[in-house]
Symmetry: C2
Subunit: 305 residues, 2 copies
Amino acid sequence: MAKLVECIPNFSVSRERDEPVFRALVDTANSVPGCTLFDVQTDGSHNRCVFTMIGSPEAIEEVAFRLTRQAAETIDMTKHEGQHPRMGATDVIPFVPQKDVTLEECVEMSRRVARRIWEELQIPSFLYEESATRPERRNLAACRKGQFEGMPAKLLEPDWAPDFGERRIHPTAGIVAIGARMPLIAFNINLSTSDLEIAKAIAKAIRGSSGGFKYCKAIGIMLEDRQVAQVSMNMVNYEDTPLYFAYEMIKTLAERYGTSVVGSEIVGLTPAAALIDCADFYLRLENFDKKTQVTEYGLLNTSWE
Amino acid sequence: MAKLVECIPNFSVSRERDEPVFRALVDTANSVPGCTLFDVQTDGSHNRCVFTMIGSPEAIEEVAFRLTRQAAETIDMTKHEGQHPRMGATDVIPFVPQKDVTLEECVEMSRRVARRIWEELQIPSFLYEESATRPERRNLAACRKGQFEGMPAKLLEPDWAPDFGERRIHPTAGIVAIGARMPLIAFNINLSTSDLEIAKAIAKAIRGSSGGFKYCKAIGIMLEDRQVAQVSMNMVNYEDTPLYFAYEMIKTLAERYGTSVVGSEIVGLTPAAALIDCADFYLRLENFDKKTQVTEYGLLNTSWE
């Protein structure tokens, strides 16, 4: 095994609302040798699905293009309804370095795929996150603001020409955000309170946008069934803002509000390193080199005949 | 990739004292396709070296035999000197399950290799750890007691017939211990004291043999250069006696003696799972399934063309 890239495209369709279209996308995801579909999440109320694929850079580029073409042929955004914000049949395509690949290489991949999607499918795109061509496009939410319905007008604004393609959406497939980013970890911490305001106050305190940890995005939400207030986070760079930063700071802030942490959860995938770094911190390891001392890294770097 | 087994044979030679013999063993370790030499440790004062290899069960069985033959042809135990207890040119051969292999399969491997080593090389063996045929042979130290020089007499004792081979050592290669075991983690905890007696008292309290954790072996030692007392442990089953059990209990015991934990270290390799389980504990993760949520496990279970 050599270079590995992860791709997590989001499509504006769900198994719950249109099983044949969903199935065809799954088949397309499995159509490229050298690429593996790890995980599929589908949500009927969002009317959206998310695929997690890992493979060689070449295979990932090819499958990202084929999936965008497949989605464009089968999803009509003029008829799409769902709770989640969206602007295209293929809504967003992130590329994430997994092994022996740099973030810069993933940026190059995103640009090649964006160019091909415009040239062969006439679907325009915004480059976001590390691929962004200007600061305000790094944020996906800023790119998507206005959603599918507002995009024809938005693309005519001086600052919102697509990075690839002309100033008009594809009539049924809309526009897509494409970019490279570090692995993101969905990390949530549950409090021993049903007071949503406390979770919101803690989320505001720890997120980078309001003065907290640079690579932590956070909101306060309510787990209605358990009557538990939760700080729901995206850790967008676990190397520079480790999970234990968030855990320890939330523990301290919870105490300040007279409550405490009852548990946490990781939604979806995490790199082993994010958790190994926590063990390193809590066990006070000295001179531990995970790349040479953790067996699995050796296994991943070794090829057997 | 399918089944993977780790093998960590110990030989009674060191690069420091006999480089040509040492080099020939390294070459032999690299002579079997499907098997990778991960790590080599050599110690001149012990006059001993330890190889860490991982590969398919078939490749590992073959390389274990070839190494034993190579060591028998080049190491003369009648002339061996070193600080570490030893009884054979190849002193001990542990087989450790790494991936999609059971401990029972490793026991079967150990028995096949022991049989072949007797039949083709006339070197007898004791089966130890999980492969042991009677309880007192599980412990390697018990098997090795008397060392090379004492083995001819020991093998004539009623209870100490070899598991494979006759009641006589190989004249120059001695006898070898062969067995299957779980991955072992060398985990040491440093105290903020230079009082060796405290480290010894804590080691005694936490080791399984004297009432502590079942799968923890521990001694107290002194790091002379740092003037730091250390609890030095072998964690022989990190699933049932996790690293954080040892860490937390030693933290508590250190406090009881008026001192504290300043750091810890892992010597050599550790499975990622041993550290991920610590993160799970300290972050209070709810419903975390490392086998499906840690990316690297997915990578290891996926084969790319």
